[in-house]
């Protein structure tokens, strides 16, 4: 961004951060956000494909969803300081903890996605498999969106400030990833819906990202600067190129469809890594903690002064 940006003045303790940097590894947790979105939206599209007579598309999306959710769970467990104690996640169900709610959601979704894929692949219990696909599709919407609450419910300035926008960035990004998978793996004759999903998902993701970058105050800087800025710019380029490719050439050329699909998948992954990095950067510099809080205090202060002034005037008027 501009070098002439006005740097706010604030005090800190030897420039040290106020907050702790997330302990999460980018590959694990940004990867978890990406694969969760990919799995959830793939299940929705798979259910649609199954009921509209697109068997190849349905099968590849079901297998993709199962693979992605397996990778997602593996990444989460790998990131725990004590992976051997993963089972403690299911020790309680705590509505105040998005990670607890998410673990239960995955515990419900995972087996459904598994049953749906295995039944499709083996032909065993087809009716049960179709029902499981519907269940996976419905829960998949939750899997794709809950991760936005997971990261927004923290003190991390960029993530918490983006709490209104993140759910839409994430579901848009999930839709483009799943559409990308469909384009990459299914025959062109079946990809009509996923081409539309690619365009719609990209539109939602790009619009919500834009609103997020400009609607988050000082912390919004972290979406433009440094590593996060580079990742998010690349994400936008990939997503836009993938969506245009899918819309214009995706129905004609198998190769163009595959390339567009890859671009959409890459765009979705880059979005998650970019947002992850922005959050990290916003914990490392104390200004993102101190300055907005100071502004909030100043607002409260002037509101209080206004109130007492109005009360004083009202009293004065009453006396007369």
């Amino acid at each position: 961004m501009s070098k002439h940006r006005h740097e706010p003045e604030f005090t800190s303790y030897y420039g040290r951060p106020v907050l702790k940097e997330p302990t999460w590894e980018p590959a694990d947790i940004a990867g978890y956000l990406f694969t969760g979105g990919l799995a959830g939206a793939s299940s929705i599209l798979a259910a649609g494909a199954q009921f509209t007579g697109r068997p190849a598309l349905a099968r590849s999306l079901k297998l993709g969803a199962l693979g992605a959710i397996t990778a997602s769970a593996a990444a989460l467990i790998h990131d725990l300081g004590k992976p051997s104690r993963f089972y403690n996640m299911l020790r309680v169900a705590k509505p105040s903890s998005p990670m607890s709610m998410g673990s239960w959601l995955l515990a419900g979704y995972g087996p459904l996605a598994g049953a749906s894929a295995l039944s499709d692949l083996t032909g065993v219990l087809p009716a049960a498999g179709r029902t499981a696909s519907v269940g996976a599709g419905v829960l998949g919407a939750g899997v794709a969106s809950y991760t936005s609450v997971l990261i927004a419910d923290t003190a991390v300035p960029a993530w918490h400030a983006a709490r209104h926008h993140l759910p839409f960035v994430f579901v848009g990004s999930a839709a483009t990833a799943a559409a990308g998978l469909g384009l990459l793996t299914a025959p062109t004759g079946e990809t009509g819906p996923v081409r539309r999903a690619a365009v719609a998902g990209a539109a939602v993701e790009l619009a919500a990202s834009n609103a997020m970058e400009h609607g988050t105050g000082l912390a919004g800087e972290t979406f433009h600067d440094g590593t996060a800025g580079r990742l998010l710019r690349a994400a936008k380029a990939c997503t836009a190129a993938g969506a245009v490719g899918a819309a214009v050439l995706g129905g004609r050329s198998r190769l163009a469809a595959a390339v567009s699909g890859l671009a959409l998948l890459a765009g979705s992954a880059l979005t998650r890594f970019g947002i992850f990095e922005a959050g990290r950067a916003s914990t490392k510099d104390p200004k993102y903690t101190v300055v907005p809080q100071r502004e909030r205090l100043a607002e409260k202060d002037s509101a209080a002064r206004c109130d007492s002034l109005v009360a004083g005037l009202a009293r004065g008027a009453g006396d007369q």
């Binding site: 303790y13 997330p22 539309r196 809080q293």
Partner: protein, 264 residues
């Protein structure tokens, strides 16, 4: 059981670090490795963390001299920081395993045999207190000496503090005492004296460990207006539910329309 707490009166802190040492000794906290000299005044601990449950901050403020020929003076600020044992504790709210819990003294403690090292609490704490011990994987922080206060002893830091800068007791008593102290300092003309964390109306509902500071909180590395992230949780779930509904409806809609359009 009344709520127990810490009142840390930084106006009488002499920076001896007896609290840091007593805490490490009593709780058998490992060292962070080699001694680092930070160059940040007398502070080589730098911050609270998994292996530092009390941290004494040192701030040297230059005071311009009245007389132009004399060199500027220095004003010392020293403060012993600790986990705030928040009324609305973000760490506790987000913990998915129930490892973090609220004790009968209204303090916030980690059950080390339950923590799975997910690190969620680390990103949730608005004060940057709790952290992961890298070689262990779990998180650690001040327990307000849960083992000591359970048998009627005061926490090790308060016991060791030679100036009564760290006071332990029933929170209501401490709040009353702190108010008297800050009033007395204001009468002495020390207008900068203020309480931090004493108000139940602040963003974390007041803290079980609160402070008398002689400057703005951020000077000591404390956030000026911390808010518990989970205060906005219902609103965040609502927004995520709308997004999930949009995704479901939007993707379903892509299957509407005629088959056999171009390319299909």
């Amino acid at each position: 059981m009344p709520r127990m707490g810490f009142f840390t009166d930084t106006s009488v802190c002499i920076g001896c670090k007896a609290c840091e040492v007593a805490c490490k000794e009593w709780n058998a906290i490992p060292s962070d490795g080699a001694l680092d000299l930070t160059g940040e005044s007398f502070d080589n601990t730098s911050e609270l963390g998994a292996n530092s449950w009390r941290h004494v901050a040192f701030i040297e403020k230059s005071v311009p001299s009245q007389d132009a020929s004399a060199p500027d003076g220095v004003r010392w600020l020293m403060a012993s920081d600790v986990c705030k044992h928040c009324t609305h504790a973000a760490c506790l709210d987000v913990c998915p395993t129930g490892a973090l819990f609220r004790t009968e003294f209204d303090t916030v403690v980690v059950q080390q045999d339950v923590c799975n090292g997910c690190g969620y609490c680390v990103s949730a704490c608005p004060y940057g207190v709790i952290d992961q011990r890298k070689d262990d994987g779990r998180v650690f922080k001040c327990t307000m000496c849960y083992d000591r206060i359970g048998v009627g002893q005061e926490p090790a830091c308060a016991k060791a503090c030679p100036t009564k800068s760290i006071q332990f007791g029933e929170l209501d008593d401490l709040r009353a005492r702190a108010q008297e102290r800050v009033d007395a300092l204001h009468e002495q003309g020390l207008a900068d004296a203020r309480l931090y964390g004493d108000s139940p109306d602040d963003g974390v509902g007041g803290t079980g460990a609160f402070f008398l500071l002689m400057d703005e909180p951020e000077t000591y590395g404390l956030p000026p207006d911390p808010v518990v992230c989970s205060r906005d949780l219902p609103q965040m779930w609502r927004q995520a539910a709308i997004a999930a509904g949009t995704l479901l409806a939007g993707l379903a809609a892509t299957f509407l329309g005629r088959r056999g359009q171009r390319g299909e």
